[in-house]
Amino acid sequence: MTGPERVGPERVGPVEGQEPLPFPESTAGLPPVAGAPVLELRGVTVRYGSVPALDRVSLRLVPGTVTCLLGENGAGKSTVVQVVSGVRRHDEGELLVDGRAVRFRRPRQARARGIATIWQDLAVIPLMTVWRNFWLGDEPTRGIWPFRRIDLAVAREGAARALARVGLPDLNVNQPAAALQPGQRHSLAVARAMHFGAKVLVVDEPAAPLTVAQHALVLRTVVSARDAGLGVLFVTSTPGYAHLVGDRFVLLAGGRVAADLTREDVDVDGLTRLISGGEALATLTAELRRSS
């Protein structure tokens, strides 16, 4: 049994019996202005050569809610993640953060605005130590150039403290990440995202099959971030888990938004059918096209 057996119409609250992961309260301001998105994609198109990987995709992330991004392999989910986290620039359309159009040139700019990502491959480098992995791309430094150097004490302590918060209090941060168990590696990616994510959390669920425990960690992360008032983009291929935490479900097919549904529109079975059955999806897509 890998999926939840019965899922009611209510989305899950804070997971019982477990401390929520301590995401910092969102800097977007709580309580959020109802419906005002912290991040929005408007007609975003991304091309690889002349082939569009994303075709006029629109999507809004509202503080304190979870938007699930679903779709088959190659649908363009990770491309959305790349655009939102500043790894790839969009060719057309607009990317808005707090209502203002931005164009990230590098991931640091996205991170500086409080957008953090848990990548599909976790972005953990096996041969580097845990603390170096934690700060990758944004190491704390001291001194002035050319003598600027990594502040080792701050970096090691900061990483250890952040890891303690996700349930790894005694982890030796000086060992290579290769020495971590898969679950610990996952926790490292989560801790890093929690540290840098003040407004938006993007989770691209690993492609490799996850254990129940890893799924639990992913869901716990998503729920904790939501409850801290972050806007969450949850990319997953498992509709059961998506429906467990999602407020909104955006279905991608061939780089286009095939459906944009709320909890009221669809139950878990419907969602499963939509994703697994290409037929149902095609029908729905056609219907949506006709009505718009």
């Binding site: 790894v87 580097m128 791309g137 290579p176 290769a178 425990a213």
Partner: protein, 349 residues
């Protein structure tokens, strides 16, 4: 839910490896062991090797190869290679030499000009690697050919010789000689200033690798390019900066040779860069990138110097050095493979 399904993030953490064990897994350890073995083996055959005279020539050989090896180590850790270092060092010394002997420049302006030229080659290498996305081996092979041919053509047409000399005695020569060609006599040996340059290069590279964001970027680039990009590590500027550093090392090697001999033969040949690569690998670098250290490169160079001088003093056939170096390379490759497997093995418990 059975206990087996409890979240893994709660599991007790394994004991941290002891200090001794960590020392054993350092990239530089096998090379240091090799140095000891070589000192014992050759010391028994040729006791002069461990006297001041032997030590001076040992360190001299180690210094020249070590400067190149430490630059190659930085590249290898980032998953890159540069075939053009050796030729670039000849080209920059020929450039400086010709500017002094043919154009009548002072030594310092000539050295500055050749440094600018070397840096320009470094920028071209770096940009080509970044922009084409091709393997750096191929890209720098092109640079190698251009530099090799270009150096010969220019030297022939400008000076009409295959030896650049008459550098000695030009304006600024005494200070240049003090900085790049001097040495101190100690006992029966003359310890050259190139040893200090080598130490400076090792210390600088070690500091960059372990203590700066640039160093983290180098490890990340070689460890996983995808992860580096996702985390916002500046991959392009790091790569270009690395080729600039390599070019600077090449210029330094060329300058040390030029000033030491008061001239250079115009013989840009293939081979030096392969020795740098071999020494870097002996020093513990993984060819796949992401692993290696400046101290390792220094240990590798020390081993190189010991074996080379030892064979010399012991009176072995000089080609046997290549045999020994080849054997050392194989041993290093095997040892590094074992280290790699142990490092990347995911713990099962």
């Amino acid at each position: 839910m059975s206990t087996a399904q409890r979240p893994v993030f709660g599991v007790p953490v394994r004991r941290a490896p002891s200090r001794g064990r960590r020392l054993l897994t350092r990239p530089s350890t096998p090379a240091f062991v090799g140095v000891l073995v070589a000192l014992v083996v050759f010391g028994a055959q040729a006791p002069q090797l461990v006297g001041t005279g032997g030590l001076a020539s040992l360190l001299d050989a180690a210094a020249l190869i070590g400067i190149g090896a430490v630059a190659v180590t930085l590249l290898l850790v980032a998953g890159q290679f540069d075939v053009s270092i050796g030729v670039l060092s000849v080209a920059s010394s020929v450039t400086a030499g010709l500017l002094v002997s043919e154009a009548g420049w002072g030594v310092w302006p000539a050295l500055a000009a050749s440094l600018v030229g070397a840096l320009a080659v470094g920028v071209v290498n770096g940009l080509l690697v970044v922009l084409t996305g091709l393997p750096s081996f191929l890209v720098t092979l092109a640079t190698f050919l251009v530099l090799q041919g270009g150096t010969l053509v220019v030297a022939q047409s400008v000076a009409g010789t295959s030896l650049v000399d008459r550098v000695e005695g030009a304006a600024g020569w005494p200070s240049a000689e003090a900085l790049f060609g001097s040495g101190v006599a100690l006992g029966g040996g003359r310890f050259r200033i190139s040893i200090l340059w080598w130490l400076a290069a090792v210390v600088l590279a070690g500091w960059l690798l372990r203590r700066t964001r640039f160093g983290n970027a180098i490890y990340a680039l070689g460890g996983s390019r995808r992860a580096a990009r996702e985390m916002g590590v500046p991959t392009a500027s790091t790569t270009v900066a690395l080729y600039l550093l390599t070019a600077t090392a090449a210029w330094l090697l060329g300058t040390l040779a030029l000033v030491r001999q008061g001239g250079v033969p115009v013989a840009p040949e293939f081979g030096d860069e392969i020795e740098y690569l071999v020494v870097a690998v002996i020093g513990g670098c993984l060819l796949g990138g992401g692993y290696g250290s400046a101290v390792g490169a220094a240990a590798g160079a020390l081993l190189y110097g010991t074996v080379r001088t030892g064979i010399d003093i012991a009176g072995w056939e000089s080609y046997s050095f290549q045999v020994v170096l080849g054997v050392l390379l194989v041993v290093a490759l095997l040892a590094n493979g074992v280290a790699r497997r142990r490092l990347t093995a995911v713990p099962r418990s």
